[in-house]
C-alpha cells in the first residue's frame, strides 16, 4: 500500500466513509477458522503461506484474508497457542479469490489464549504487559450475581470486597492497591469498548440534624449487567497494558466482552434457570432474657452496690432475673425477627446464530433476589442485542445494545447516627429481649409494634419498623451500547469508527413514617431524588497488522476518541404528611419541605492514542503505547497530558538453546514501564466560585452569596508511573502454567482534597499534592493434576496469591490529616483514619491499650498519667513516657489493607460430573468494629453479644477477664484505641458447584443440558467477632474497613440448569 493510500485511509476513517478496494496482486485466499469441537470462530489464528512472507491473523469472526499469494499450489498453515497447528493445501489462481476454511482442534489449556487489551486483542503469548483473565468457565461454574464477584479469588492483585452485602450492593475492587486517598479508586470498567460511567444520587437526608445517610448501601453500577451475558473478562494491570487507557488507567482496567453470535452458525436457543435460597451466614450469640437482666443488674450493682437500686430486684412490682425467665423464656430474638430465608431466581433466554454475512446474539434476562433482611431485595430485567453484519467485502457493522432496569429495595441496615437511628442490624443486637421493655402493652392492640417509650427514646424504633415500615428503593434504568463500522482494507489495514454511549437514570424514593425516629418528629419524611447521566463516545481507529519477511511482525493501532458527559440531579425532601399511607408518592401532600437541591455537571475528554506491537521471530516482543489525553476538569493550561509506556518481552522458549528442553512448553520474561493518569475529581475544581445560598434576616429567608472555592490554576493530572517485571512459564505440555509479577507503582501529583488550615476560612481545596507508592507481587499457577485425556477424570488446581504494600510517601505541605468521623452518637464521633507520610492509606490511628486495671493499686499508680483511670478500665500506653496521655501517645494501631489476598480454585470432572470449588481469603487486614465502641462500654444499656459479658473483668468473679469491668456509669471511652479493632483475616469456601451434563442424545433437539447445584459462602474461617469480616461500610477510600453494622453476608444455595437447543 502506498503512502498516499495510507493518508486517504486515515481521512476515510475519520469521515466515517470507506471507499477503497483492496488491491489484488497475484491471488487471494480467504476463509474462516473454527474450533473443530464447538464450531465457533477462533480469533487471532496466525495463517501463513509456507515458504513465503504472506501471513494474516483471523479477526473476531474467525475470518482471514491472505492477499498477494503467489500463484500455484500453496501450503497454508494455521497456528495458534492452545490449538494444534494445521496445514492445508490450496491452488491459487492469479486474480482469483479462493476460499479455504480451517477447523482446528483445541488442545487443553486453561488460560484464555486471546486477551482483550483495549482497542484490540492480542495473543496471550504476544502480550508484554500484565494482563489477567478470568478463566472462561469461572463465570459459568460459579453462580455469581455480579461481574466483580467473578474477579474475587481468581485475579491475582485484585482485592474484592463486598462492603455491604445487601442485594445489588456495591462491590469494591482494588487492583494493585489504592493510589489516592480521594475518590473510590475503582478500576475502569469497559464493556464492549464503552467505558462504564455512572453518576451518584444523593442518599443524604438534608436534616433534621447533620446530613446523614438514609441508607449506607451504595448500589453497584455494574449490577445491571447480567453475568450470563459475559463472554470474557480481562484485567489490565501494568502500565504497558493500561497506558492505552491513559487518563483513566491508573487503577487498572477491567475489560468485559459480551457474548456475540458466530458467523455461519445455525441458530440456537439457550435457556438458563437457577433458583435458590439464601440465609445469613451467622447470627451473633446475644444475651437471652434472664442473662440480660442479670447483666443490667450487675451494671448497677458495680456502681451503687445497693440491691434496692437494681433494675431487676423484685421490689415495687419489678421483676427479678428468674421471674424474667419464667415469664418470657429466652425473650425476643430480634435477629430471628429481621433475618429470613430469602429466595433467588435467575433466568435467561438467548438466541444466537449467524449466516455467512452476519451473526446475532439476542438475550433477555430476569433476576430477582430477596435479601436476608426483611424488606430488602433486588430485581433486574434486561435485554441485549449484539449484531454483526458484513455489508460488503470491506465494510462490516457491529452493534451492541443492552437496556436494563433494576430496582433495589434498600433497608437501613446501618446508620451513621449511632443511637436512635443506628440501623437495623445494630438495633437487632441492642434491643431488649424483654417484651415488657421493648413494647408498650397498652398500645399493642392498635399497633403490634408499639415500643415502650423509654426504649424508643434511647434506642430508636424497633428494627422491625425499619424492615417493614420504612420504604426505600433505588431504581436504575441503564442503557449501554454502540455501533461500530469496520472497514478492512487489504489484509493489513483496517479502519474503525464507532459511536457509543451510556445512559443511566437513577431514582431514590425514601419514606420514613412516623413510627421511626426520622419520621417521628417530622410527621413522616419523604426524600425523593433523581439523577441522570448521559455519556457519548466517539472512537476512530486505524489498525495495521502485517508480517515483514518471516522474522518481523508489526501490529499497530492509532486513533482519536472523544467523550462527552453530562450528569444532573435533583433532591427533594418533604415532611409533615397527613398520614403515612401514601409514602413518597405524593409530595404535595406534605406541609413542610427543605429547599430542593439540584445540580448539573458537564465534562469532556479527548484523546489521541497509538500503540505499536512489534515482534521479532516470535521471540522478542515490544509494545509501545502513547496516549495524549485532555480533560475539561483541569485548569486551562493543564488540560492535556501525555502518557506513554513501553513493554518488552522475551520468549526464551523460542531460543534455540531452549527449544529442545522438552518439559518446558513456554517461557517468557516481561518487563514494562509507563505512566497512566487519573482524573477522578469533580467538575469545575480549578475554578473559583460565587455560590448562592440563603440566610435568615429578621425571621425571613433572604438570598445570599459567598465565595465558595479557591481557584487552582495549577490543577493537573495525577500520574501513576509503574514498573513491572513478569515471568510466564508453562511446562509439561502446559500441565503447569505459572505467571509471576513484581511491580512498583508511584503515584504523584495526587489529586487531593487537601484540608486547608481553618484559619483560611476554606475547609479544603483540590490540589495536586503528595505521592503514594504501591509495591507488590502477584503469583498465579495452574496445575493440571489429571488431564482428562481419553475421557478420564480431570483435575485442575488454579491458585493465586498477591501482596501489596501501600505507602504515602508525602502529602505535600500537610503533615497529616484525618478522614471524616464515622458518625454521630453512640461513640461514632471518632476519626480513626489518618493520612500521614510513611503510613499506608487506611492506617488507623489511636491509643494503644495495655490491658485493664486489675487492682486499685494499679489504678493509683497510673492515676497521674491517666487521671480518669478506674478499676476495670483500659489502661492506655504512655508511649513517649512523658507521664501524660496526650495526642503524642497516639500511634498507628491498625491498617485496613490486607497483607495477602489469595484464592484457590479446584476443578474436577469425572464422566459427566463436574465439580468446582473456590477458596479465597485475605490475611492481615484490620477492621474497625464500630459496634465495639458501644459493646465495650458494658454499662447495662442495651443488649450485646454474650462474649463481652462473659469476658468482662471482675475483681472477684473474673479476675482474668480481658474486657472492661461492667460499669453502669461508663458513657464512652474518650480515646480511640486498639480495643475497637479486630483482625479481618479470613479463609472462605466462596463457591462450590457440582454439575451434571446430560447425555446429548437423551432428548431430541437438545444439544446440551447441564444441571448443577451451587453454594456460595458455604464456610468461613475467621476470628472476627462481627457478622462477617468482608465488610466496608463507607465507599470512600480513606474510610475502608469499617463495620458499621453493615448488611451481613449470606449463604446462598442454588439449583440450576442450562439447556441449549
Amino acid at each position: 500500500m502506498t503512502r498516499r493510500a495510507l493518508g486517504l485511509g486515515l481521512i476515510g476513517v475519520l469521515c466515517g466513509a470507506a471507499g477503497l478496494s483492496a488491491q489484488t496482486a497475484i491471488g487471494t485466499i480467504t476463509g474462516h477458522v473454527t474450533d473443530s469441537a464447538s464450531g465457533r470462530p477462533v480469533v487471532a489464528v496466525r495463517l501463513s503461506v509456507v515458504g513465503t512472507d504472506r501471513a494474516a491473523v483471523t479477526a473476531e469472526d474467525g475470518g482471514f484474508v491472505l492477499s498477494a499469494v503467489p500463484e500455484g499450489v500453496q501450503r497454508v498453515r494455521a497456528g495458534r497457542i492452545g490449538f494444534s497447528a494445521r496445514e492445508e493445501t490450496v491452488a491459487v489462481t492469479a486474480g482469483q479469490i479462493v476460499t479455504l476454511n480451517f477447523a482446528i482442534q483445541a488442545i487443553a489449556v486453561t488460560l484464555s489464549d486471546v486477551v482483550v487489551v483495549g482497542y484490540g486483542t492480542q495473543r496471550r503469548a504476544d502480550v508484554t504487559g500484565a494482563v489477567a483473565s478470568v478463566p472462561p468457565d469461572q463465570l459459568q461454574r460459579t453462580a455469581v450475581v455480579s461481574l466483580q464477584q467473578a474477579l474475587q479469588g481468581s485475579v491475582p492483585g485484585a482485592t474484592v470486597t463486598q462492603g455491604d452485602a445487601a442485594p445489588g450492593g456495591a462491590i469494591a475492587v482494588q487492583i494493585r492497591g489504592v493510589t489516592s486517598p480521594t475518590g473510590d479508586n475503582q478500576p475502569l470498567y469497559v464493556i464492549d469498548g464503552v467505558p462504564v460511567g455512572t453518576a451518584g444520587v444523593s442518599k443524604f437526608t438534608l436534616g433534621p440534624s447533620e446530613p446523614s445517610f438514609t441508607t449506607m448501601t451504595t448500589t453497584n453500577p455494574l449490577s445491571t449487567l447480567a453475568p450470563s451475558d459475559i463472554e470474557s473478562i480481562d484485567v489490565l494491570k501494568d502500565a504497558s497494558a493500561t497506558a492505552i487507557y491513559g487518563s483513566r488507567g491508573a487503577n487498572g482496567v477491567v475489560i468485559v466482552t459480551t457474548k456475540r453470535g458466530r458467523r455461519s452458525q445455525p441458530g440456537q436457543v439457550s435457556f438458563n434457570y437457577a433458583t435458590g435460597m439464601s440465609q445469613v451466614v451467622r447470627e451473633l450469640d446475644v444475651l437471652a432474657a434472664r442473662d440480660y437482666a442479670l447483666y443490667v443488674n450487675q451494671a448497677s450493682w458495680n456502681v451503687y452496690a445497693d440491691s434496692s437500686a437494681l433494675p431487676y430486684n423484685g421490689r415495687l412490682g419489678r421483676l427479678t432475673p428468674d421471674s424474667v425467665r419464667a415469664l418470657y423464656g429466652a425473650g425476643i430474638d430480634w435477629q430471628n425477627s429481621i433475618f429470613r430465608s430469602a429466595a433467588t431466581r435467575d433466568l435467561q433466554l438467548a438466541f444466537t446464530g449467524g449466516d455467512g454475512d452476519g451473526s446475532y446474539a439476542v438475550s433477555g434476562n430476569y433476576f430477582d433476589q430477596n435479601g436476608v433482611i426483611r424488606g430488602s431485595g433486588f430485581g433486574r430485567g434486561g435485554v441485549r442485542a449484539n449484531l454483526d453484519r458484513k455489508l460488503n467485502g470491506i465494510v462490516r457493522l457491529a452493534t451492541n445494545l443492552a437496556v436494563t432496569r433494576s430496582k433495589d429495595h434498600l433497608v437501613r441496615s446501618s446508620g451513621t447516627e449511632g443511637t436512635t437511628a443506628a440501623g437495623i442490624v445494630r438495633s437487632a443486637i441492642r434491643y431488649s429481649p424483654l417484651p415488657s421493655e421493648a413494647f408498650d402493652t397498652t398500645r399493642l392492640a392498635n399497633d403490634p409494634r408499639a415500643e415502650n417509650q423509654a426504649y424508643r427514646q434511647q434506642f430508636g424504633a424497633n428494627p422491625l419498623r425499619y424492615t417493614d415500615e420504612v420504604q426505600e428503593s433505588e431504581t436504575v434504568t441503564r442503557g449501554i451500547g454502540g455501533v461500530r463500522v469496520i472497514a478492512q482494507i487489504g489484509s493489513s489495514w483496517s479502519l474503525e469508527s464507532s459511536l457509543g454511549g451510556n445512559y443511566e437514570r437513577k431514582g431514590v424514593d425514601s419514606y420514613f413514617p412516623r413510627t421511626v425516629y426520622e419520621g417521628n418528629n417530622t410527621g413522616g419524611l419523604a426524600i425523593v431524588s433523581a439523577s441522570e447521566y448521559v455519556n457519548l463516545l466517539n472512537e476512530n481507529l486505524l489498525r495495521f497488522g502485517s508480517g515483514f519477511g518471516s522474522d518481523h511482525r508489526l501490529d499497530a493501532v492509532a486513533g482519536f476518541t472523544y467523550d462527552w458527559n453530562r450528569s444532573n440531579w435533583i433532591n427533594n425532601q418533604v415532611s409533615k404528611f397527613p398520614d403515612d399511607v401514601l409514602g413518597s408518592n405524593r409530595l404535595q401532600n406534605g406541609l413542610a419541605w427543605a429547599a430542593p437541591q439540584s445540580g448539573v455537571d458537564v465534562w469532556k475528554t479527548a484523546s489521541w492514542l497509538a500503540r505499536v506491537n512489534y515482534s521479532f521471530r516470535d521471540r522478542y516482543l515490544a509494545t509501545g503505547t502513547v496516549r495524549s489525553d485532555g480533560s475539561s476538569k483541569f485548569a486551562a493550561n493543564n488540560k492535556w497530558a501525555t502518557f506513554s509506556s513501553l513493554g518488552l518481552a522475551w520468549r526464551a522458549k523460542q531460543e534455540p538453546f531452549l527449544r529442545d528442553v522438552g518439559f518446558l512448553s513456554d517461557l517468557k520474561l516481561r518487563g514494562s514501564y509507563g505512566q497512566s493518569g487519573n482524573q477522578a475529581i469533580g467538575t469545575y475544581q480549578s475554578l473559583a466560585t460565587v455560590e448562592g445560598t440563603t440566610t435568615v434576616i429578621g425571621e425571613q429567608l433572604v438570598s445570599a452569596v459567598y465565595f465558595g472555592r479557591l481557584a487552582n490554576p495549577n490543577l493537573r493530572w495525577e500520574t501513576t508511573t509503574q514498573y513491572d517485571v513478569g515471568l510466564d512459564l508453562s511446562a509439561w505440555g502446559e500441565r503447569l502454567m505459572m505467571t509471576g509479577d513484581v511491580y512498583r507503582k508511584r503515584t504523584d501529583g495526587l489529586l487531593q482534597s487537601v484540608n486547608l488550615a481553618p484559619n483560611t476560612g476554606y475547609p479544603s481545596a483540590t490540589f495536586n499534592s503528595g505521592e503514594v507508592t504501591n509495591t507488590g507481587f502477584e503469583l498465579q499457577g495452574d496445575l493440571r493434576v489429571l488431564t482428562g485425556s481419553a475421557g478420564g477424570p480431570s483435575w485442575q488446581i488454579s491458585a493465586n496469591v498477591a501482596r501489596n504494600v501501600n505507602k504515602i510517601v508525602s502529602l505535600g505541605a500537610t503533615e497529616q490529616q484525618f478522614a471524616n468521623r464515622l458518625g454521630a452518637g453512640g461513640g461514632l464521633e471518632v476519626n480513626p483514619f489518618i493520612e500521614k507520610a510513611g503510613l499506608p492509606i487506611g492506617a488507623i490511628w489511636g491509643y494503644r491499650t495495655d490491658g485493664i486495671f486489675r487492682s486499685q493499686g494499679e489504678v493509683d499508680a497510673y492515676k497521674s498519667v491517666q487521671p480518669d483511670a478506674k478499676l476495670g478500665d483500659y489502661r492506655y500506653s504512655d508511649l513517649n513516657g512523658d507521664g501524660k496521655l496526650t495526642a503524642a501517645d497516639e500511634t498507628m494501631i491498625g491498617d485496613v489493607n490486607p497483607r495477602y489476598t489469595w484464592g484457590i480454585t479446584n476443578r474436577v470432572t469425572l464422566g459427566r460430573f463436574d465439580l468446582s470449588a473456590l477458596v479465597t481469603g485475605v490475611i492481615g487486614n484490620t477492621i474497625v468494629n464500630s459496634s465495639r465502641l458501644v459493646y465495650l462500654r458494658l454499662n447495662g444499656s442495651g443488649n450485646l453479644p454474650r462474649a463481652y459479658v462473659e469476658n468482662a473483668f471482675d475483681p472477684v468473679t473474673n479476675p482474668t477477664g480481658t474486657y472492661p469491668r461492667i460499669d453502669g456509669t461508663r458513657q464512652g471511652f474518650g480515646r480511640f484505641s486498639d480495643a475497637f479493632l479486630e483482625d479481618g483475616s479470613y479463609i472462605r469456601l466462596k463457591n462450590v458447584q457440582l454439575g451434571y451434563e446430560l447425555p446429548s442424545a437423551l432428548v431430541r433437539g437438545v444439544r446440551s443440558a447441564r444441571f448443577y447445584v451451587n453454594a456460595i459462602n458455604l464456610l468461613t474461617f475467621t476470628d472476627y467477632t462481627g457478622y462477617d469480616p468482608e465488610v466496608s461500610a463507607f465507599s470512600n477510600t480513606d474510610m475502608r474497613g469499617v463495620d458499621l453494622g453493615s448488611y451481613p453476608q449470606a449463604r446462598l444455595f442454588t439449583v440450576g440448569m442450562s439447556v441449549t437447543f
Partner: protein, 564 residues
C-alpha cells in the same frame, strides 16, 4: 464550529499527530462552562449583589460548626449554674483535644472572618451608593469583630487575617498574633462598625426589614463588653493589663453610647425576649443569630434545655440541661426569671408505665395542667435531689397516681427560654440565640462604672433597671465597691442564665478555676460534692479550648495551647 472548520478538523486531525501533539490539542474545546455557580469575575456589580454578599457572612453563623450546635454546647457546662449530664459537652473532664466538636467554632468563626474579608476586599473595587457601601462595610466590620472576639475568648491569641485569603502555596500557614493585636483588631473593627452602621432601623439604608442586622448601638454594646474583657483576668500578663482602668472606663463610655441611643430599651416582659416570633423586633436585642423553620437554620437548644416533652419544640425536649439546685436557691423568691409557668416550666413529668411500674418512662406529650390535677390528688411517695452518677444534684418528687403508676415532677428546673411549639425538627427551631442584649450592656455599665467611680447612682441605676424588670426591689443601697461588684456578677448569672455567658464571665472575673474546683468559699451556689467519683474539676490549661487538629495539621506555624 462551522461546517468548514469541522471538515478541516477531521481532515487535519489525524495528520496533526505527525505535526506535533500541541497542534492536536487545539482542535478540541475542553473549556468548562459551569452551570451551577457564577464566575467571581463577573459578579459584584450592583448594590443588590453586594447586599447578597454581606448576607453570605450571616449565612456562616447558623451552621453545624457554629450556632446550630456546638457554639453554645461547648460553653454550657463550664460553670456551676447548669446541671449537665456527664456525657454532655466536655463532660466532667472538661475541654480536651479530640472531642468531636472541639475546634468547630474555630472553623466557624474563621469562615465568618473570611467571608467578611472577601466582601471588604470587593467593596474596595466597586463603586456603590456611598450610604449603602458604608452600611455594608459596617456590617462586615461588626461581624468580623464579633468573630474575632469569639475566637479570642475561646482560643486565646489566634492568627489574624484581615485581607481576602489568597493561596500562597502553603495550606494556610499563619502564626498566632499577639493577644493584644487580636484585641486591637476587634476594637478597630467594632469602632469602625459603630461609625459605619446605621443608628437604627430607619437610617441610612436600613428599614424595618433589616431587623436582625446590627446597628451602631450593637457595635457600641459589643465594644463595651470587649473593653470589659480587656480589663479582666484573661489579659493579665499581657501589655494590655497595665491599662486595666482605662479599659473599664472605655467600657463605661461605650455602654453609655447604647443607653443614649434613644431607642434601645428593655422589654417590659422578660420572656418576650425569647418569644421566637417577637424577639427579632425587640428593641432590647442588639445582636442575635437568625433562625427560622427552614431545615438546618435553627439551634438545637430545645432538645437539651426543655423537659422531656415532644410538644415544646422540634424534636422534643430530652431534659438534659436544667438549673442546679444550689443556683436556683440563690434567686430571690419573687424573681420573675424563675417564675414557674413563665420563665421555667411549672411541671413536667415522667412516669412508670402501667405494665412495668418499676421503669421510669418519659411521658409523651405535654399536659402540664392535667398533671397538676393528678398530682393534687396523688400521694407523694418520695422526694429527692438525685444525681447523675452521684456527681451532682437535680431532683424530682415522686407521686403515686394509683394503679401502679407513678409520676415524677419538678423541682428539676427547666428554663422556658428555648421553646418553639411550631417547629418540626430539632434543627428547625426558630429560637434566635441572643449574642447581646441591652440588659447585658446595662450590667456591663454597672460593673464598669463601679470599677471606675465606685457604686455611684449611675451604677445603681443600671443594675436596678434590670432588677425592676425582674420584679425585684432595687439593690440594697450603700454597698461597698466589692459588694456591688458581687451583686452585679450575681445579677448577670440570674439575668443571663442559659445565654452562653457564664464561662466567659467567670474567666473574665478570674474565678473560673477556683469555682470549678470548689475552692472559692461563699460563691453562691458553687457547692459540689467533694469526693465524687466523677468530679475531676478543671485544670489551668482548660482556660482555653484546644486548637483543632485540622489547624495543627495544616498550619505549620501554629502552636497548640499548652496542656493539650
Amino acid at each position: 464550529m462551522n461546517q468548514a472548520q469541522r471538515i478541516v478538523t477531521r481532515l487535519i486531525g489525524p495528520l496533526c499527530l505527525a505535526a506535533g501533539v500541541a497542534a492536536c490539542h487545539d482542535l478540541v474545546n475542553l473549556a468548562e462552562q459551569p452551570q451551577t455557580f457564577v464566575d467571581p469575575a463577573s459578579y459584584f456589580k450592583t448594590g443588590a449583589q453586594a447586599i447578597d454578599a454581606v448576607n453570605g457572612i450571616y449565612n456562616a453563623l447558623m451552621t453545624w460548626d457554629d450556632w446550630i450546635d456546638p457554639a453554645w454546647q461547648e460553653l454550657t457546662c463550664e460553670g456551676p449554674d447548669i446541671y449537665c449530664p456527664s456525657w454532655w459537652a466536655f463532660g466532667y473532664r472538661g475541654a480536651s483535644a479530640g472531642t468531636w466538636f472541639a475546634g468547630r467554632t474555630w472553623s466557624a468563626n474563621y469562615l465568618v472572618i473570611r467571608r467578611a474579608n472577601d466582601v471588604l476586599g470587593q467593596l474596595d473595587k466597586v463603586s456603590l451608593d456611598p450610604a449603602l457601601e458604608e452600611r455594608l462595610r459596617g456590617e462586615a466590620h461588626f461581624l468580623r469583630g464579633y468573630a474575632y472576639f469569639e475566637l479570642a475568648r475561646r482560643y486565646g491569641a489566634v492568627p489574624l487575617r484581615v485581607e481576602p485569603y489568597v493561596s500562597d502555596g502553603t495550606y494556610g500557614d499563619a502564626p498566632r498574633a499577639p493577644f493584644e493585636a487580636v484585641y486591637a483588631t476587634i476594637v478597630n473593627d467594632l469602632k469602625a462598625a459603630a461609625q459605619e452602621l446605621p443608628a437604627d432601623f430607619a437610617s441610612k439604608t436600613y428599614s424595618s426589614a433589616d431587623r436582625g442586622r446590627p446597628t451602631a448601638p450593637s457595635a457600641w454594646g459589643l465594644l463595651s463588653k470587649v473593653y470589659l474583657t480587656m480589663a479582666g483576668a484573661e489579659l493579665a500578663g499581657t501589655p494590655l493589663a497595665a491599662a486595666k482602668q482605662q479599659y473599664n472606663d472605655s467600657a463605661r463610655v461605650a455602654a453609655q453610647h447604647v443607653t443614649q441611643s434613644g431607642w434601645v430599651t428593655l422589654e417590659t416582659d422578660y420572656m418576650r425576649l425569647f418569644d421566637w416570633q417577637q424577639q427579632v423586633n425587640s428593641n432590647e436585642v442588639l445582636f442575635q443569630i437568625g433562625a427560622t423553620h427552614q431545615e438546618n437554620t435553627g439551634p438545637e437548644l430545645v432538645t437539651f434545655f426543655n423537659p422531656p416533652d415532644y410538644s415544646t419544640g422540634g424534636g422534643g425536649g430530652a431534659g438534659f440541661l436544667s438549673m442546679r439546685r444550689v443556683f436556683y436557691e440563690t434567686f430571690e423568691p419573687a424573681d420573675r426569671r424563675i417564675a414557674p409557668g413563665y420563665a421555667v416550666f411549672a411541671a413536667w413529668k415522667r412516669s412508670g408505665s402501667a405494665s412495668d411500674p418499676g421503669t421510669p418512662t418519659w411521658y409523651e406529650g405535654s399536659v402540664p395542667d392535667s398533671i397538676k390535677t393528678q398530682i393534687a390528688t396523688a400521694t407523694q411517695v418520695g422526694w429527692a435531689w438525685m444525681g447523675d452518677n452521684a456527681c451532682d444534684t437535680v431532683g424530682w418528687s415522686r407521686y403515686n397516681l394509683g394503679g401502679g403508676r407513678f409520676v415524677e415532677v419538678s423541682p428539676q428546673i427547666f428554663t422556658m427560654k428555648y421553646v418553639d411549639r411550631t417547629a418540626l425538627t430539632k434543627s428547625q427551631n426558630s429560637n434566635n440565640p441572643i449574642i447581646l442584649r441591652y440588659a447585658d450592656v446595662l450590667l456591663v455599665l454597672a460593673e464598669a462604672e463601679n470599677e471606675v467611680n465606685g457604686p455611684t447612682a449611675a451604677a445603681y441605676d443600671a443594675i436596678d433597671q434590670v432588677r425592676t424588670r425582674a420584679g425585684l426591689a432595687n439593690l440594697t443601697a450603700g454597698l461597698t465597691q466589692a459588694q456591688f461588684r458581687d451583686a452585679v456578677w450575681l445579677e448577670r448569672r440570674h439575668e443571663l442564665y442559659a445565654e452562653f455567658q457564664e464561662w466567659f464571665d467567670l474567666k473574665r472575673q478570674g474565678r473560673w478555676l477556683g469555682i470549678m474546683n470548689n475552692q472559692i468559699a461563699g460563691y453562691p451556689g458553687s457547692s459540689r460534692p467533694s469526693a465524687s467519683i466523677c468530679q475531676q474539676g478543671r485544670q489551668p490549661y482548660q482556660l482555653l479550648l484546644p486548637i483543632p487538629a485540622a489547624e495543627i495539621g495544616a498550619n505549620r506555624l501554629i502552636t497548640q495551647n499548652p496542656g493539650y
